[in-house]
Amino acid sequence: MTYLPGIAFQILQSVFVVLAAPVLVGWVNQCRAWLQNRSAPSILLPYYTLAKLFHKDAVIAQNASPLFRITPYVLFGCMWLAAGIVPVLATDLPFAPAADIIALVGVFALARVFSALAAMDIGTSFGGLGARREMLIGFLAEPAMLMTLFTAAFISGSTQLTTIVETLAHREFAIYPSLAFAAVAFLMVLLAENARIPIDNPTTHLELTMIHEATILEYSARHLALIEWATAIKLFAYMTIGIALFLPWGIAEAGDWAALPLAFTVLAVKLLFAGAGLALIETLLAKLRLFLAPEFLSTAFLLAVLGMLTHFLIRG
């Protein structure tokens, strides 16, 4: 039963990510409040919000189809699965070979398609608008994300995220131009995919500019709680993918249980900085007009492709 510790760790990590994800959102909100000279809410506020939402009665539109009601669960399931693939603490994940980076992008796409469909289910004008914009961001961000991941895949000769991380973690510390391009592209995709400024603003419900919020307008109570939680897991997953690709040092190797406490500390520090950085970006930048979003994302796509070509040209 050599697999057993691996499977135990796999389950442990997935549960850890799911439980820890709202803290990250709380931390980003806290940092942003400080940067904006406001007194910050508790870092645990997202948990209180989730608990509050779970206790409410769900209000559903009369003409909602079953698709509308299963979508929150599907979204949560997709994000949970994504959290299981990404090497957060260690690279010893027995489930990871079942889905590589292409499948990971596929999982995010599956979640996006379901949330867009659910948005159109009730037939309100905002739902359709949100779905359309969400898919617009999605179709531009998805190829850019895939190209970023391909750059890493070409460097390590594998599309397995665990293998990629192991290869990259063993490289000497130097700046690789291809990864530098990819990192910038990935940051832009992260902002867009997680509905962050400059593409979207997670704190407002302003009709004319909202994207992600428009798709979930009809949801309430436990459904909304699941979606918000899934969004938090998505942010956590994206940040850990970024860390795994571009700052992999410190992650525990397969079977090296003694390194886990260190890996945990290193991860916490990295996430602290990443969350603060995200809050900084969100404070310094203004939201882009919707039709500048394609330009923003096509820049990300071009950067990612450039990164890939750079790798072929200079082998670095």
Binding site: F54, H55, D57, A58, V59, I60, A61, Q62, N63, S65, L67, G77, C78, L81, F95, P97, A98, A99, D100, I102, A103, A109, V113, A116, L117, M120, D121, I122, G123, T124, S125, F126, G128, A131, M135, L136, F139, E142, P143, L146, M147, F150, F154, G157, S158, T159, Q160, T163, E207, L217, E218, R222, F291, P294, F301, V305, M308, L309, F312, L313
Partner: protein
């Protein structure tokens, strides 16, 4: 005597199946008893024949090639038949997909009038049989006869509603481009033959071509078959002809007939011409990438459901060509393992596209049959009136959007894996170009997802957009969902989407055998040794994917979430009106339309389209926004050629003076010329 003595060999069995289809087509003509045979028997039996054909095809993939000479045709020019693994694969595709479509057709055509039904029964089964003969043919002569029969029978099926001028025009365009393609294929066989007079495929295979002539043969085959496949710039007939035909026929044409063109390409380029060069592969890649992006971008602009699906067929042919092109590039540089992977990706996508596009066309047919609607802008809320059709259509939509764990994802995954083999290439420019085609594929995949969110969201979700469809529950006893036969047909194809998506390893082994037969070498040992659970194209360190574990985990965590939420919290639900944002007079017309959904795409990719927009005046009491999108190819490609052809024929028409003396003079001069030059 054992039971196996009664089972014919794959070749004899396939021939028998094809002949049975011909027999059904003739029997369907009998008008007795309100066309009883065509109405009740022809299509279900046709479906059974399809199943049998699929069995023989499956068997043939694992056996060595088998030949047969039929003493039919012209004197000294008998028909040669042959079944090898490649033909077996396409027979499997034809048989299994057509079985689903035929069952559906049995229900769909039931309400037709007797004269129309008998004709449809005839043409439909001749069409099926001709496709089987295209795959079975082993000489250029039978191949062309079957190819032309296929074109003609499908032409008559397209023009089933020949009363409408638009449909007659669509049919004419189809026939024209089909024949241009057929001429190119005929010339290709001529070039390959090199004047030996022997047109069997064996002779063509043995013929040794000069590099220049091989390239000419390749170009003729690529564009000849490409005209049938619908690749740009020869695609113009496809979005016209596919919507014009009755829906089961659209499903056949889009799902299977386009694949015979892919069969032709693989057969001629890999098998008959041989010696694939990487430059050919680059051409295929460039045209494939263009076709993919063009198809999906124009699909996003359509609001006629069947036209939209037709443009998606163009896109998917592009994806298949991307796989083929990569494989040809790898062969050209001498990397058979990577080449095999590309060919497997292309063939896998060929099968996948047949399944999900067939399913989607059948779904569109059910909508058309039940509501009479084809325009997305008139639909809405159909999931509440046709829940079963909506369910099957959702599976098709998720599959074509290449979402895991369905089948579209597997073939796109394999295509990506092929592109990721690029570092082995020696040529620096090609090495960096191949991944760029993967970038295009990624873009097209994401756009497809957007397009099918649009289709599904607008047709099935939301509120009905037309007042007459507003009534929430159908009248008592009036179920507008598809009938049982139709549902069975769709369920068959939907189940195939799952099987192809969840058990890719067994298909990989099958396709590996075909590719090993064609290219002489299969995948690496490591790839084949992996267990059935893991799809491993090269080695487990490089890449692996396990759709079953994927599905199990995603279902498990989703269910777990559901149970946890239910366990810890109450499941109370209150129903109310949708939130109206403080504006109470909302009407269904305020929902997004298909055109509105495509608006961001028009904004981002504006220069690609030829748009004519009509914006209403601000004080217009009944404002209407109209938008016309045209295909630029008409203006730079088709119309100049048409004008040139008209110009040339008008000059030739000068010879026609309408006076008998002048015609006699022509004959006189011809005779003199013959006497002088041909002695």
């Amino acid at each position: 005597m054992t039971a196996s003595d009664f089972i014919p060999s794959p070749l004899a069995g396939s021939l028998l199946a094809a002949v049975s289809w011909l027999a059904i087509s003739v029997l369907a003509l009998i008008p007795a008893g309100n066309a009883f045979i065509a109405r009740r028997l022809a299509f279900p039996i046709g479906a059974l024949v399809g199943l049998a054909l699929a069995m023989f095809g499956l068997q043939a993939i694992w056996l060595s090639p088998n030949q047969l000479i039929l003493p039919l045709g012209l004197p000294d020019l008998p028909f040669h038949l042959r079944v090898d693994p490649l033909a077996g694969f396409f027979l499997l595709l034809l048989g299994s997909v057509s079985a689903g479509i035929s069952v559906y057709a049995a229900g769909y055509f039931r309400t037709e009038t007797a004269p129309r039904l008998t004709l449809i029964g005839l043409q439909y089964h001749v069409f099926l049989a001709s496709m089987a003969f295209v795959i079975l043919a082993d000489d250029a002569y039978l191949f062309m006869v079957a190819w032309e029969t296929m074109a003609l029978s499908s032409y008559f099926l397209v023009t089933t509603d020949h009363g409408l001028p638009a449909i007659r025009n669509a049919g004419f365009l189809y026939l024209l481009i089909a024949h241009l393609g057929a001429i190119a294929i005929l010339l290709c066989f001529g070039v390959m033959n090199g004047g030996h007079g022997d047109y069997t495929f064996n002779a063509l295979r043995a013929a040794h071509l000069q590099p220049l002539w091989a390239t000419v043969a390749f170009l003729l085959a690529f564009f000849g078959f490409g005209a049938k496949a619908g690749m740009i710039p020869l695609h113009a007939w496809l979005p016209e002809a596919h919507p014009a035909a009755p829906s089961p026929v659209s499903a056949l044409m889009s799902g299977i007939m386009l694949k015979t063109a892919i069969y032709g390409m693989v057969r001629v380029i890999y098998d008959l011409i041989g010696g694939v060069r990487w430059e050919w592969g680059m051409l295929v890649l460039i045209i494939g990438a263009g076709t993919t992006l063009f198809g999906v971008l124009y699909a996003l602009m359509q609001h006629d459901l069947k036209r939209l699906l037709a443009y998606h067929s163009v896109e998917n042919i592009g994806i298949i060509l991307l796989g083929l092109g990569m494989s040809m590039v790898f062969i050209g540089f001498g990397h058979p393992a990577a080449a095999t992977l590309g060919l497997i990706a292309a063939l896998y996508h060929t099968f996948n596209h047949a399944v999900f596009k067939g399913l989607l066309f059948l779904g569109a047919g059910s909508i058309l049959h039940s509501t009479g609607l084809r325009d997305l802008n008139d639909m809405g809320g159909l999931i509440r009136r046709m829940p079963k059709t909506a369910f099957y259509f959702l599976i098709g939509a998720l599959a074509i959007s290449a979402l895991p764990p369905l089948n579209g994802f597997v073939s796109e995954w394999l295509t990506f894996q092929t592109a990721l083999q690029a570092p082995v290439l020696q040529h620096g420019v090609v090495r960096s170009l191949v991944p760029l085609f993967a970038a295009m594929l990624a873009l097209a995949g994401a756009l497809t997802a957007m397009c099918f969110v649009k289709v599904y969201g607008i047709a099935f979700l939301g509120q009905p957009r037309k007042a007459e469809h507003l009534s929430r529950s159908p009248a008592v006893g009036h179920d507008i969902d598809a009938g049982e036969m139709e549902r069975f047909g769709m369920a068959w194809l939907a189940a195939s989407c799952f099987v192809l998506g969840l058990f890719p390893t067994s298909f990989l082994l099958m396709l590996n055998r075909i590719c090993a037969y064609l290219t002489g070498r299969g995948l690496s040992e490591q790839a084949l040794e992996s267990s059935w659970l893991w799809l491993v194209p090269t080695s487990s360190e490089q890449a692996s994917y396990s759709p079953i574990i994927f599905l199990v985990v995603i279902v498990a965590v989703t269910l777990l979430t559901f149970l946890l939420v239910r366990h810890f919290y109450h499941g109370r639900v209150r129903f109310s009106d949708p939130w109206d944002c403080g504006f109470p007079d909302q009407t269904p017309r305020m929902q997004d339309t298909a055109d509105a959904f495509g608006q961001p795409i028009r904004h981002v990719f504006g220069p690609i389209y030829l748009m004519e927009r009509h914006m209403p005046e601000p004080d217009d009491p009944a404002p209407r926004f109209s938008l016309k999108i045209e295909d630029r190819h008409w203006y730079w490609f088709y119309l100049p050629i048409a004008r040139f052809a008209e110009y040339v024929s008008s000059k030739i028409a000068l010879l026609q003076q309408g006076r008998i003396s002048i015609y006699l003079l022509y004959s006189f001069f011809t005779l003199i010329a013959l006497l002088v030059f041909v002695r």
